[in-house]
């Protein structure tokens, strides 16, 4: 009988309840901060709060409930969870501008201390670099699907937990290193980010095709093919949103000054 790698009993309740409480607490903290800072500053945009709640809900759906449970046996569900946890949730959370909210909520003095800590920290500088963030994100996925890690993860609950936290955090770091919604202490030029992003997206697509061609050990080949195509096209879709936001930043940055516009229209008339 072939060894079933998914035999690991899913000790549902306790872990799932703790995750749910944690995510609800993070949502509550955000909403509280919005109310608190609205007393001093102009109203916080509702869409950001909605992004935060939707992002947390996506991440929660990936670790708790039917998708997470079926993901243990079915690679297609595993991949749905991966797209939610590693791509869609991070993008929504970045759009919710949590750091901006933190700075708005903290007293000025502490906010300044935090800002200078972030600016001076060599660790923050290192991990938030687009190339580092890409390696942590896409490189992590290569490790997961191209080494025995995928097999091991389903046998050890602790490892499963660590891998999922990594996928989520690396996904956030990656999105935040590409699109600057929050104040970003270490900024990189548009072209620099675009080129790194291109290679990261290509790395994601190439990995999907490799999973399609030769699935990780123990994964049903039919499920692997559907899952790989889901990864390929789902990744495209979410990354295209990031690309649009990235280019929109360029478009705003390159806005011609009023005098330049006037000069160009005059030269056309003459």
């Amino acid at each position: 009988m072939p060894m079933n790698i998914f035999l690991a009993v899913h000790s549902a309740s306790l872990i799932e309840i703790s995750w749910t409480i944690l995510f609800c607490a993070v949502i509550a903290a955000y909403v509280l901060a919005v109310f608190r800072s609205n007393r001093t500053y102009k109203p916080w945009p509702m869409r950001r709060t909605l992004c935060w709640i939707a992002g947390m809900a996506c991440a929660l759906a990936a670790v708790v409930g039917p998708i997470a449970q079926r993901g243990h046996e079915d690679f297609v569900y595993h991949m749905v969870g991966h797209l939610l946890l590693g791509m869609l949730a991070p993008l929504l959370l970045v759009l919710a501008a949590p750091m901006t909210l933190v700075f708005r909520t903290l007293p000025v003095k502490q906010a300044r201390t935090l800002a200078s800590l972030l600016r001076k920290s060599r660790y923050v500088r290192f991990v938030s670099h687009p190339i580092t963030a890409s390696f942590l994100n896409i490189g992590g996925l290569w490790l997961l699907y191209r080494t025995p890690l995928f097999h091991l993860m389903h046998a050890h609950d602790m490892l499963y937990c660590i891998v999922h936290i990594h996928v989520f955090m690396a996904g956030y770091l990656f999105a935040a290193s590409m699109i600057y919604i929050d104040p970003t202490p270490h900024r990189y030029r548009f072209l620099h980010r675009a080129v790194v992003f291109l290679f990261a997206l290509a790395g994601h697509g190439i990995l999907s095709k490799l999973i399609y061609a030769s699935p990780p050990a123990g994964v049903d080949p039919v499920q692997a093919k559907t899952g790989a195509m889901l990864m390929y096209y789902g990744g495209d879709l979410i990354d295209f949103v990031i690309i649009l936001i990235l280019f929109y930043g360029w478009y705003q940055h390159k806005r011609p000054s009023v005098s330049a516009l006037r000069a160009s229209s005059q030269s056309q008339q003459s």
Partner: protein, 153 residues
């Protein structure tokens, strides 16, 4: 004059990028999804083929988005030149289709145009159309040298 030259290039690039994006969009929608002639993966694909496909697939998204934003930038500066932009579009579309037809299909074997048929007429048509687009693009750009004339509008 310097500024004028800069927008010449931007017109051309906006066209080239949209040409590449347009061809890969047609490829994906018509040949992969609707007709289902192209396969997602072909067992004879080389490693270089997977890498090339990954890079170009990713790039086509950038090209499409980038082309539209470059276009919008030209419009707000009133520097859009239709002929130049169109010649760029043909260059991008023809160039990418030729690369796809010769290098990706034939040399790297990422997939064939269609399966279980005589491929020759398909390959000839594919690459002939590509070459025609490319040559028209080159002709248009030569007919209208970079430093000649004013914007169309």
């Amino acid at each position: 004059m310097e500024a004028k030259k800069k927008f010449n290039a931007q017109n051309l690039w906006s066209g080239i990028l949209l040409g590449i994006g347009f061809v890969s969009f047609i490829d994906e929608v018509v040949f992969h999804q609707l007709l289902r002639w192209h396969h997602f993966y072909d067992r004879s694909t080389t490693a270089a083929g997977i890498v090339s496909d990954g890079l170009f697939h990713a790039f086509s998204w950038f090209a499409t988005a980038g082309a539209f934003f470059l276009f919008a930038d030209l419009r707000r500066r009133q520097a859009f030149e239709r002929t130049r932009w169109l010649s760029g579009f043909l260059l991008g579309a023809g160039g990418f289709q030729l690369y796809d037809g010769i290098v990706q299909h034939k040399i790297m074997r990422i997939h064939q145009i269609r399966y279980d048929v005589n491929l020759l007429p398909y390959d000839i048509t594919w690459n002939f159309i590509a070459a025609a687009l490319l040559i028209t693009g080159i002709y248009m750009i030569r007919k209208r040298p970079a430093n000649e004339g004013k914007a169309c509008r």
